[in-house]
């Protein structure tokens, strides 16, 4: 009984959203195979992005909302590849090669900023993402086409000012998914994409066992003690953010090659919202995250995305309700997960205190008798 209780308490966020999904499935009127094939597709598309959040959480920096900087770098890489007419898998490789140095630079920058905002990394990272939007728009709309010539008409805005708002990625679409595509019954499985995700998992597992990984775990728990033990806390935190940013860059490229088109100035922001929601729903907290959390989270969050808008639409008999429902779910997941987590922390602290108090009281009582 106690075990059940503590299991529920530990996984409250996941359980709540699992319940919502289970309730929403019949209302959505979707078939099981439709949901599953959609889930496979979306899992391949977006789990890489979510992995980007693990390391900063491990290093005690909370959810790295500044990962949109990495996503931006990936998009710049894709713009470059598309503009230079590099097609297929090679186009994706080139986009990645262009994106990585950019994301290292941006990650280093955001690491610096977050180090100066200790204790409020999450909100600062969030705003940093918006700040970057401004820089990115300046780059995309004014630098591109002026200092950096745009070569391809499909990339340019109709009026000639910079990169257009919606970019067709037809030439690189499926550049990863379609290398080897396995048909299993009604489902098609992008083998190479899954292989890449598997390699990433292995990387994370390996990384946790390295010295740097160990240092990140240490500073994630106790910055002061780690510093006293001689670990360079600031640098380790920056490295966590840099790796996170690079992973976000690659993740965004994988995500967009699957979608096949890109909203040049807003797609990166979606990446941040979505990844945070996924990892939180998967049971991660702002101080603890594992690969398991990512997998559960990605499945659950997409199940929510697929079913709840339709369920909302069916329940309220309005298409617009469904539309707003998905946005509400997205923000609501993050808000409620953060609240539940903070509340749980507070309760744990209160309980610890109460324990101490009870023992003190018992002693006092004993002392009183003696």
């Amino acid at each position: 009984m106690r075990n059940v209780k503590s299991f529920v308490a530990d996984n409250i966020v996941t359980l709540i959203f699992l319940t919502i999904t289970i309730i929403a499935i019949p209302f959505s009127g979707l078939s099981g195979s439709y949901i599953i094939s959609n889930l496979i597709d979306r899992f391949a598309r977006s789990s890489f992005l979510v992995f980007a959040l693990i390391l900063p959480i491990m290093a005690g920096m909370g959810i790295n909302f500044a990962m949109v900087l990495g996503a931006t770098a990936g998009q710049i890489g894709l713009i470059f590849a598309v503009d230079h007419n590099i097609m297929g898998t090679e186009g994706l490789i080139l986009a990645t090669l262009v994106g990585i140095p950019l994301s290292v630079g941006l990650g280093w920058f955001s690491g610096q900023v977050l180090n100066r905002a200790r204790g409020r990394e999450m909100v600062t990272g969030f705003i940093l993402g918006y700040f970057m939007d401004g820089i990115y728009q300046f780059f995309g709309l004014y630098i591109m086409g002026w200092l950096i010539p745009i070569r391809t008409a499909q990339v340019m805005q109709i009026d000639g000012g910079g990169v257009r708002n919606t970019l067709a990625l037809e030439s690189v679409r499926g550049g990863l998914d379609k290398i080897v595509s396995l048909k299993v019954g009604p489902f098609s499985i992008p083998v190479v994409t899954f292989a890449v995700i598997a390699v990433l998992c292995l990387f994370i597992i390996w990384f946790r066992r390295t010295k740097l990984g160990q240092d990140m775990r240490a500073i994630g728990q106790e910055q002061g003690i780690s510093h006293a033990a001689g670990i360079n806390v600031d640098r380790t935190r920056i490295l966590a953010i840099v790796i996170s940013t690079v992973l976000a860059c690659i993740g965004q490229i994988i995500y967009l090659q699957n979608l096949g088109n890109m909203f040049t100035y807003t797609s990166q922001r979606q990446a941040g919202y979505y990844a945070a929601a996924a990892i939180l729903v998967g049971g991660a907290t702002v101080s603890k995250a594992s690969i398991k959390n990512v997998f559960i989270g990605v499945f659950l969050v997409h199940a929510l995305y697929i079913t709840t808008p339709l369920a909302g639409k069916a329940l309220f008999k309005s298409a617009m309700v469904g539309q707003y429902m998905s946005d509400f779910i997205n923000y609501g997941i993050i808000a409620s997960a953060l609240v539940l987590h903070a509340w749980k922390n507070k309760r744990a602290a209160d309980l610890a205190r109460a324990g101490l108090r009870m023992s003190a009281e018992a002693q006092a009582a004993a002392g009183g008798v003696a």
Partner: protein, 122 residues
């Protein structure tokens, strides 16, 4: 930094650059114009390049299809009758684009690929 790590780092940098150059070269897309304007033998047809999804070319029209890399490609024409011709051709190195005329794609002969040169007035 010891010598070994220096060598590894330089190798890595070289691999990075080589990979970039290779991806750029091998992945570069070129427009290939399918010229179906010869009205002596007007047919609508489907063109399949490198096994990709077929593109329709109307009679008397030019169609642009992107091909990846200046290398060997296969092209096959599918006529409405269901007849299919399959040929290989080499994209001319150094050209910005190329043109293939449908009538010259007769069975049994190498397709004639004409490089399209940049216009002079540019």
């Amino acid at each position: 930094m010891n010598l070994r790590s220096l060598v590894v780092k330089i190798t890595l940098a070289v691999v990075y650059l080589v990979l970039a150059v290779w991806a750029y070269g091998a992945g570069k897309g070129y427009p290939l114009y399918i010229d179906n304007t010869d009205l002596s033998k007007p047919t609508m047809l489907s063109v399949v390049i490198d096994g990709k999804s077929p593109v329709r070319v109307r009679e008397g029209a030019y169609t642009e299809i992107m091909v990846k890399g200046a290398r060997k490609h296969t092209i096959s024409l599918v006529l409405p009758s269901g007849a299919e011709y399959r040929e290989t051709f080499r994209f001319p190195a150094g050209a910005q684009a190329a043109e293939i005329r449908v009538p010259e794609l007769a069975p049994g002969s190498d397709p004639v690929v004409r490089p399209v040169l940049p216009r002079q007035d540019r």
